[in-house]
Every structure is written in structure tokens, then in C-alpha cells.
């Protein structure tokens, strides 16, 4: 792996691009195909690529499993939190119309947030699962 200098250099360039693309997919989902889930997968793929290129340990230093674990839960909490917030603001669960003064704005905001929640969880899950599989090979008895 170490010897693939070109590959590593290339991926150093590529990974930020992929992440950027993920963000685009994340936030452009309202207008074109894509959304939180796809963005999450792509972001996760970027992390996986990093791990493949620079080794699992390096990847774990950049994306510590504990942090990933937090984000796994955080995305779900964010999504549910939006739902609960809607209740507190007087709507039904996940009724984004109540999140802002105008229902359509509320819908926009709500969709943005929950898609973000999905994206975060999915990215963290994809990366975590890959780390777990990859880590299994080494520490295995």
C-alpha cells in the first residue's frame, strides 16, 4: 500500500472532492435526485477510501470509532428531536409546518434537518461497519 504513492496522492485529492459531492447530494436533494441517505453513503465511502489508502489505524485516528459511534446515535436523535420539537411547538410528531412561522418554510427547515440526520447516521454507520469488518482481520485470534 505504502508504495502506491500516486494512488495516495490522488486520493488525497479525491477524498475532499467526494466529500464535497456528498454535501452537494445532501443539500441538493430537494431539487434533484439524492438526499440524506445517498449523501451519507457517499460520505461513508470517502472515509472507507481513506481507510483503504492510508490504513485502518490512520483512518481511526482521523475518524475515531467513539466519535463515529456518537454520530451514529446523533443522526437518529436529530431526526427524532425534530419530531419531538414539532410536538412541543404544537404540531403532531414530525409536523415540520410548526417549525417556522410559515408552514412551507417549516417544511423546508424540517426536511433539511431530518435529511441531515439521516446523512450523519448513514455516513457514520457505513464507516463504523467498515472499520469493524476491517478491524476484525487484524485482532482476530
Amino acid at each position: 500500500m505504502i508504495r502506491h504513492v500516486i494512488l495516495r496522492a490522488l486520493s488525497k485529492l479525491l477524498i475532499p472532492l467526494i466529500m464535497l459531492f456528498a454535501l452537494y447530494v445532501q443539500f441538493h436533494g430537494d431539487y434533484g435526485p439524492g438526499g440524506g441517505f445517498q449523501a451519507g453513503v457517499i460520505f461513508g465511502a470517502a472515509i472507507i477510501l481513506y481507510a483503504l489508502m492510508f490504513g485502518l489505524e490512520a483512518a481511526k485516528r482521523v475518524f475515531p470509532p467513539r466519535v463515529l459511534e456518537f454520530f451514529v446515535a446523533f443522526g437518529l436523535l436529530l431526526y427524532g428531536g425534530v419530531g419531538i420539537e414539532a410536538i412541543l411547538l404544537g404540531g403532531n410528531f414530525l409536523d415540520y409546518g410548526h417549525l417556522a412561522h410559515e408552514p412551507v418554510h417549516g417544511q423546508h427547515l424540517g426536511i433539511l434537518l431530518v435529511e441531515l440526520g439521516v446523512g450523519i447516521t448513514v455516513a457514520a454507520v457505513m464507516a463504523s461497519i467498515f472499520f469493524l469488518f476491517a478491524g476484525r482481520g487484524r485482532s482476530d485470534v
Binding site: 459511534e69 427524532g80 419530531g83 410536538i87
Partner: protein, 503 residues
Amino acid sequence: MTGGEADLITRVSDDLPALQIAVPLLSAAICLLVRRARAAWAVAMVVAWGSFASACVLLSRVLQSGTISYAEGGWRPPWGIELRIDLLNALVLLVVTGICAIVLTASPRSLDQEVWREHHHKFYALYLLCMTGLAGMTITGDAFNIFVFLEISSLSSYALIAQGTTRRALTSSLQYLVMGTIGGTFLLLGIGMIYMVTGTLNIADMAVQLAAVGPNRTVLVALACIGIGTGIKLAVFPLHIWLPNAYTYAPAIVTAFLAATATKVAYYVLVRFVFSVFGAPLAFGELRLDAVLMPLAIAAMFAGSFVAIFQDDIKRMLAYSSVAQIGYMVLGLSLASVSGLTGGLVHLFNHAIMKSGLFLVMAAVVLRMGSTRLDAFAGLGRRMPFTMAAFVVAGLSLIGVPLTVGFVSKWYLVVGAIEGGLWPVAVLILLSSLLALIYIWRVVEVAYFRQPPEDAPEVSEAPASLLVPIWVLAGATVFFGVFTSLSVGLASAAARMLFGVEL
């Protein structure tokens, strides 16, 4: 308290159906974050008992003011997803949350022994997810939503089962996963077909549209697909092969929980589709579902009990007994009458209580003896008197002795069979309970009349944290066998509702 706060509380309590699902699901994420075994347990306990309380409130509301409909996201059904709680699923919800809470209360000691402590918080997260999935399937009014929550509960139960102490837990879990996924996918396919001909996913709406479509080939196969899908999760006779392994090798706590809830909810889903979507006249009259299910149910009753008799591992024996008991529930459905369905539903309630009690006894025995093989029970009647007494009580209920819940179920099944003119079926129900007598009595005999081997280690009674839940459940088998107004009242009201019979 200010008016604003009071207002908030009423508003939030109107959202109870959503919170019933949302809070446990969020707490599962929190369990993952707290990382400490006992802290996660505490979170889970609060949530589980809270869910139970909320289920009680919902039930009382349904009893007072009829079906509750809750629009998730504020979108009116059929455009949005609806939570719809009526008598039928309020009962199931009560069972799921109640058993979940009780079993969870018993869990710490047993888990300390069977699951690596570093994993406990994840275990509780999955446990809550599993409950949420089951509760979500139960109260949702949307067909596709059933599938989503089915998968939450399934995936979490696969992972939970794999935590068993032997390596066979892994293979059992995978076997369940493969079958469960096939089942889930068939369910998806069936839902898709109905969706295709009705254009809606809302269960109540489906029923309306389907009545207009009438029976055709697509509908027939859709029913078959849903039957296979739920049948696998429910472990209906030929599709039951995952169940004995899964229940045997899973941690005892998991078995106690799943045995009492997972199959019950699958049964509920089947009942829901058959009655609320297809409707009894279509399902039984045109599509002859009863003719398919009845032989399978009877085969399950006998095959399950018969195989149970020859098991050396008592946990496995109880698992096979579950196969037989599921046969009773399916039989109740296939009798296609109010009494029969009442029997099936009441057995859902009753079997949940007694089986979780029995499996918790297994947890206690594993904790003290390290094994549930028949030999381990020698002399336990004297050495763990309270635990074994609970086993006897719940076992008698399984046999169907009067003044226990098992009798109540059997009563309605027999009444249903005779009312339907199916005399041989009535006889078979009674005969099969004799098989239960045999397999339960094997254990009783060993526990009370066989001396433990000379070199047997000293064992003491199970700890109170296990004993209390065990006796709550054992007591419930007697309590609900005498005071039947809750279980039978609800079940028969639900059955009448499903058959459209006015009181």
C-alpha cells in the same frame, strides 16, 4: 402550574401514540451513548415501564372513546402515515410493553452471566429497538410502515439472539436472519400487490378500496404472500424451523422477551391483514384461508408438543412447546368465528404471560446451574423452591388446568370448534393439551422426585431480581385465569369488532 404548562401537558398527552414509539427509539440511541451497563439499564427501565404505562393509558382511552387515530407529520391519512389504535392492537401493545418491562427488570443478573459486560449498553439499545419495532408494527395504520418496523424488530432480534453463549447462537441467528428476511420480503411483496390494485398503503383505506376490487388472482396471491411472510415470523408449522434453535441458543432474557412478543405481534399482523384489509368474508369465504391454516395449526399443535416431549434441553423443549402453542393461536384464527378468534387472541395474551414466565425460570436455572438440560433440574424443587414452584404454576397453565390462563384460552378454542360443528377439532385440542402434560411433568418429576448427584454443587435460590419478575408472571397466569374480564373482555370485543358483529 401555569396555564401554558398545563396546556403543553394536554397537548403532549394527545401525542401519546407517537411518543409511544418515539421515546423508546430515541432512548435506544441514548443507551448507546451512555456506555455504562447499569446506566443503560436504568434508562431502558424507565422507558420500558413508561411505555407500559403509556400503553395502559392508550388502552383506557380506546375503551372510553373508541379508536385513536394519529397522523404522523400532521398529514391526513391516506397521504401521511397514520397510527391507529383500536381494541385489537391496544391489547397487543399492552402485552408487548408489559412483557418487555417485566423481562427487562429481570435482566441484569442474567446478562452479567451471559453477555460480555462491555456490550450491555448495546444490548439494552437493541432490546429497546426490538420493543419499539414490535410496538411500531402493532399500532401503525400503514401497511408499509409495518414492514419498516418489522425490520427494526427483526434486525435487533437477530443481533440479540447471536449473543448466546455458545457458537450455535451464531448459526441459529443466521438461520433466523435468512428465513426472517425471506419472510419480510414476501410481506413486502404482498403489500406491494395490494398497493398495486388499491393505490393506497393505509390499512383502513386499503380495506375500502379492496372491497371495490373484489377477489381476483392478484389479491389471492397477495394474501398468500402476506400469509407466508407473517407465517415465517409467526413460526407457523412448516415455517417454524428457525424458532427452536433461536430460542434455545439465545440468551435466556432474549428468549423470554422474544417468545412472548415477537410471534405475538406477527400473529397480530396476520389477523390485521386478514380482517382489516381483506375482511373475513373475502379471506374465509372466497379465498378459503381457514382451510389452509387449520391443518397447519393442528399439525403444529401435535408436532410441536410431540417433539417437545423428547427434548433433553428444557429451554429447547419450551421452544417446541411454543410451536405448538402458536398452533393454538392460528387455530383460533382458522376457526373463522367470534369464539375462535377470541380464543386465538386471548391465547396471544395468555401465552405471552406463561411463556415469558417459563423462560425466565430458565434464566434463573441457567444462572444457578449453568445449564437447562433435564439433568440439571434434579432436586431443584428443593434447592430452588420458589423458582420451581413458579415453573409448576406456569406449566399447569400451559397444560390448561382451570383457574389458570391456559384454561381460558382452551375453553374458547373448544367452544369455537364445537360451535363451528368441528367436533374432531375440539377433541384434538384437548388431546394435544395432554401432550403438554407429559412434557411439563417430565420436568416436574425430575425437579421434585429425583435426587441431585452426590457431587452436585450447592445452589441457592435465584436472586430476588429474577424471582420477583418470575412470580409476577406466574401470579399473572393465575390472576388472569380467575379475573378474566380484561383479557377475555378485550379479546372478545376485538373479535366482535373484527367480524363486524355489533354488541
